[in-house]
Every structure is written in C-alpha cells, then in structure tokens.
C-alpha cells in the first residue's frame, strides 16, 4: 500500500515568543492547498505577520511547518526559501539598481548557480517580468519607480525563485486601488498557473471575502476560524475579533460586501 503525503502547506503546534512573551502558542493551521489563494485575517497585533514570518523561517519558532509532507523547519534558510518564500511588507527600497539587476541579484543572492549564463539568466528574469507585466521597466532604476511598480518588481523577484509556496505580508497595504486590483488578479492567475500555495495577510475584508479562496481568522495568537471566506467572515466573528458591528450583504453582481455600522 502506498502512502501519499498530504498535499499543501500545514502548520503544526507552531509557537513563537518575543523574549518571554508568547505571541503565538500551539497554532495549527492548514491545509493551505496548492492553487488557492488564502487570506490570513485578524486585527492589529493578533500575530498575523509573526505567523507568516515564522512559517517563512525568518523567526525562530517551535513546532513544524510541512510542505507536501516534508518538514521545512530543519532546513537552513537558503534552502528553505527555495520551497517556501516569505515576502515582507516593506516595498523594495528605491535604490539605484535596475529592475533587471534586482532580479539577477535575487537569483544569485544565495550563491551563484553553477549553470550560470548571463543570457539564460536574463531570459528567466524577463519571463517573470512579463508575467507580472513590467517587462517594459526592466532597464529602469528602482529609485525612479512608483510604489506599485516596485511591489510588482518585488513580486517578480519572488516568482523568479520558483518557490512552491508564497507567503505575502500585506502585499496591498501601501498601494492605490488600481495596483491593489492588479496585484490581486496577478496573484490569483499565477497561483492557479503555477500551482502555488499562496497565503497573504490582508486588512481589506471585502477583498478577502470576494477574491480569496480560503480565509483564516487569527484572534489573540490562536486561529478562531478557517475555511471559505463567507463562512469565516460572519457578523459574529467580526464582532468577537475586530470588535465592530458589521453586516454582510450581497450585491446585485453576486459580490458580497461587509458594511461596518460602528464599534462594539
């Protein structure tokens, strides 16, 4: 009898402390399946970023993080990011570096590949820039780009590393509505095409409700609810977690929206 390992990303008994203060205790989350965009929701200070950073290996944590049945926690950071890549909330700094150079630097950051060949490297980088729609900016310097364009460049860097799981920390927070929609659409498309496990921290509840496949609600360092966004983002949960009075309505086009009527 063959045993197939469970697919997707799992978190088991994850714990993180800052000094003596526990931020996350015994968090079990998942499975976050391949090809789906999952939202991690929760109020400020609920441990969303900490959870993602711990999953990405940027914070020391107890417990296990399993990707397709393989525990990632014992791997060194350089190897771990080959499988599961965390993208920080801060945009790439506006430095004097062309977008293409930034792509190549990301590719070689953990040691130059043995089969390194400039033309091949550039082809791979350009393919990623095409995917995120900024191929025309390849030779422009990061310090000349807008925040949205730099976010796209950062995303292209991540995709260029060909991870199987992508963890994004508030990828939409610093952006205007145009780039919010662009990046969300882009993430949905690439997630489906590449079969990525995509998990993102979001503050925009309506975005999570309508454009994510799964949602996971954090409350006081624990997961209160997870599943389909419509089942997670209920008025009761919003009242408990965010301390707001809210109702969920269905619009004429089939979209749901949350309207807040006040605080509790």
């Amino acid at each position: 009898m063959t045993h197939t390992p469970p697919q997707g990303l799992y978190v088991r008994a994850l714990g993180v402390r800052y000094g003596r203060r526990p931020v996350l205790e015994h968090v079990d989350a998942g499975p976050f399946p391949h090809g789906a965009v999952s939202a991690v929701l929760g109020p400020n200070g609920s441990g969303k970023s900490t959870l993602l950073r711990a999953m990405g290996g940027l914070l020391r944590a107890t417990g296990t993080v399993l990707l397709d049945g393989v525990d990632l926690t014992p791997l060194p950071l350089a190897q771990r990011t080959q499988h599961c890549l965390y993208l920080p909330q801060a945009l790439p700094e506006p430095v004097r570096l062309s977008v293409l150079d930034a792509m190549l630097a990301a590719r070689h950051a953990t040691g130059r590949q043995n089969d390194a060949d400039t033309t091949k490297d550039i082809d791979a980088a350009m393919a990623c820039l095409h995917d995120v729609g900024i191929a025309h900016l390849a030779t422009r310097s990061l310090h000349e780009l807008s925040g949205g364009q730099r976010q796209l460049a950062g995303l292209a860097q991540a995709l260029g590393r060909k991870p199987r799981a992508l963890l994004l920390d508030e990828p939409l927070s610093a952006l205007d509505p145009y780039y919010q929609q662009t990046i969300m659409a882009l993430l949905r498309r690439e997630t489906a095409q590449r079969g990525l496990v995509t998990i993102m921290v979001l503050h925009d509840l309506n975005m999570a409700l309508n454009q994510c496949d799964l949602a996971c609600l954090l409350h006081g360092g624990r997961i209160l609810a997870s599943g389909e966004p419509a089942h997670v983002l209920t008025p009761e949960h919003l009242r408990t977690v965010y301390r707001i009075a809210a109702r969920v309505d269905e619009g004429a086009n089939g979209q749901r929206f949350i309207s807040t009527t006040g605080v509790v």
Partner: protein, 351 residues
C-alpha cells in the same frame, strides 16, 4: 542568426556591464597616474623618464635618486593609495550593512577610537622590549578601533534600532573617544603631547615598506571576500527583510562585513592616523558612477577612495613648499565641500 526575443535587453545589459568596467579601468588609470605624479613632484623634481627608470630598473640610476624614489616617494605615494582603498572599501560595505548614507569609519567613531588607542600608548609611554614604539602605537590604535566597531554592533543589536540609532550610537562613540583623547592630552607631558597631536593629524610620512606591505596584504586578502559577498550585499540594499526573505543570512553577512571593515579601518588608522571623509565620500562617488550593483560598486568605491587620497597626498605636499602638511587636514578640507554637496543634493533623490 536566430532572433532572440530578449536580444535588445541582453544587448543593453552587456553595454551597461562594459560601461561600468570602463569606469573601473578609468579609475585604475587615474590612480596610477596620480601615484606617479605623486612620486615625481617634490623638492628634488624628477623627470618622468628618470622616475620610470628608477622604478623599473633601480640599479641603473644614481644612488641619490634611487633613495629618494624607493625610500621616500614610493612608500608615501603607495601608502596614500592603499589607505584610500581600504577606507573606500570599508566605507562602501559599512553604508550597505548599516543601510545609512552617513555611515563611515570617521562619523561612527572608529578613527576617534584609534586616536584614543594611540594616545594611550604615546602618553603612558608604553614600551615593550624588541618592539619598536611605532608598532606599539599602531597596535594600540588597531585594538581600540576594532573594539569600537564591535561596541557599535552590540549597541545597535541590543536596541534593534534602525538607521537613526546607528548614527546616534556612532556620534556618541565619537564624542566619548574625543573626550578621552582630550583627557590624555591634558595629562600628557610636553613631548608626548607634541607626538600625540602630530599622530592625530593623520600623516602619510610615517609610511614604511613594512606597514605598507601589511596593509596591502590585508587589502589583498579581504577584497576577494568582499567581492564574493557582492550579490547578497546588493540584495541587502533592497531592505533587510527582503534580503532575508530571499534566503540571505543577514546576521552572518553583517558579521563578516564588520570583521572586514574593522580590519581595514583599524589598520589604516593605526598606520597613518586620523584621515576623515574618504570612507564617507568614496561610496557616494562610486554610487553616482556605477549604481548599486555591488560587483562594480565595491571596487569603484575602493578605487575612488584610493584616487582621492592619492590626490590629497599630492596637494598636501604642494600646499606649503618644503613642508608636508598632514594629510588628515587636507582630506578634511577637500572632503567638507564634497560632503555638503551630497547632503544638500539629497532632496527627491536617493544618495
């Protein structure tokens, strides 16, 4: 030939690489020229032909010319280039790992710490048999500046501070060490005081083949390691978190950089005293010329540093005929306008 979809981009990329390489080659040429001029100019003026002859075939020229070139001029000129290179490279790495355009060995207290170390040895009159006093002073300066780097690192790590904290801690170190040096001056005897003041002014006339070989050797050993870290350092420029997210071990990278920086700066300070602004200005010049790709930025900063100090050394000998003005004074005077220009140009543009 098959048409390649990214042919234009590849072409543009290669052109940029070539242009940056040309900039480096230009810097090497300028440096070589300035070192030669540095050797030629002086009380006993040497023609270019005599100079080249004396350097390439020392046995074929007069005894006196050989002595001037090999014992006085060459060590002085080469020391200027080496110290400039060391400070330029150290400054470049420092600005990257501390993510601060104001970071330099001078602004963060390394030089002041070195001066304190030297003052200890000079004022307290330390002697160890069989060790020349000059080496003892240099050694003490080295230990103090190396310690100040680690102190800075610890302070910053304790506070987990951003770039502002780094600079503030550095400024605190500068003032503390300056106060300590002043204290040493206060208690010093007249002879020791004169020695100490002369030491802190920063002078290349102390250069010998021994110190030159040690510094050049260290530079030669350190530089390949710097270049091996070029890609991760480039990634680090885009943000510490981003570098870490791409798999760069930032802690390790930073520690290795600090080790290189403390070696280079501490040696430079130990051998020639306090020479400011090179480590601050050279990285900015390099950034303007070749951008932030550290494969070019690091060597460009190193070469710019060497070139500026070499020029300053030349000016130092021409300024007052017959007297070599301490180079530290000249670099500070030349450096301040540079520094202001950079600070004032910042608006709407990253330095």
């Amino acid at each position: 030939m098959q048409h390649h979809p990214n042919a234009t981009i590849v072409q543009t990329y290669r052109t940029t690489m070539r242009r940056h390489s040309l900039v480096l080659a230009g810097l090497v040429a300028a440096l070589a020229l300035s070192v030669l001029v540095d050797c030629a100019v002086g009380p006993a003026a040497l023609s270019p032909a005599t100079l080249l002859h004396a350097i390439l075939a020392p046995s074929g020229v007069e005894e006196q010319t050989r002595l001037i070139v090999w014992q006085i001029r060459l060590p002085y000129a080469l020391m200027a280039a080496c110290v400039g290179a060391a400070l330029g490279l150290a400054g470049a790495e420092m600005q990257t790992i501390l993510a601060n355009p104001l970071a330099s060995p001078f602004t963060l207290g390394l030089s002041a710490a070195g001066a304190f170390g030297a003052s200890l040895a000079i004022v307290l009159g330390w002697h160890i048999s069989h060790v020349p006093d000059m080496w003892l002073t240099a050694g003490s300066a080295f230990v103090c500046s190396a310690l100040s780097v680690w102190l800075l690192d610890i302070l910053v790590r304790l506070r987990r501070g951003g770039t502002g904290t780094v600079i503030l801690c550095g400024v605190a170190l500068v003032f503390s060490f300056q106060a300590l040096v002043a204290l040493m001056q206060f208690v010093a005897s007249e002879d020791a005081l004169q020695n100490l003041v002369f030491w802190t002014l920063g002078s290349l006339t102390r250069a010998t083949w021994g110190t030159l070989a040690l510094l050049a050797g260290t530079l030669g050993c350190v530089f390949p390691f710097s270049m091996r870290a070029a890609w991760p350092l480039t990634t680090l420029r885009m943000g510490e978190d981003r570098a870490a997210s791409l798999g760069v071990d930032v802690q390790h990278l930073r520690r290795m950089c600090l080790l290189r920086i403390s070696l280079l700066c501490a040696l430079a300070v130990a051998f020639v005293g306090v020479i400011g602004f090179i480590g601050l200005v050279a990285p900015h010049i390099a950034r303007r010329m070749v951008g932030e790709d550290h494969r070019f930025y690091l060597p460009a900063s190193m070469l710019s540093g060497a070139f500026i100090l070499s020029l300053s050394a030349l000016v130092a000998r021409l300024l007052v005929p017959g007297v070599v003005v301490p180079t530290g004074i000249v670099t500070a005077l030349v450096g301040i306008p540079f520094f202001l220009a950079i600070v004032l140009r910042r608006r709407g543009d990253t330095p």
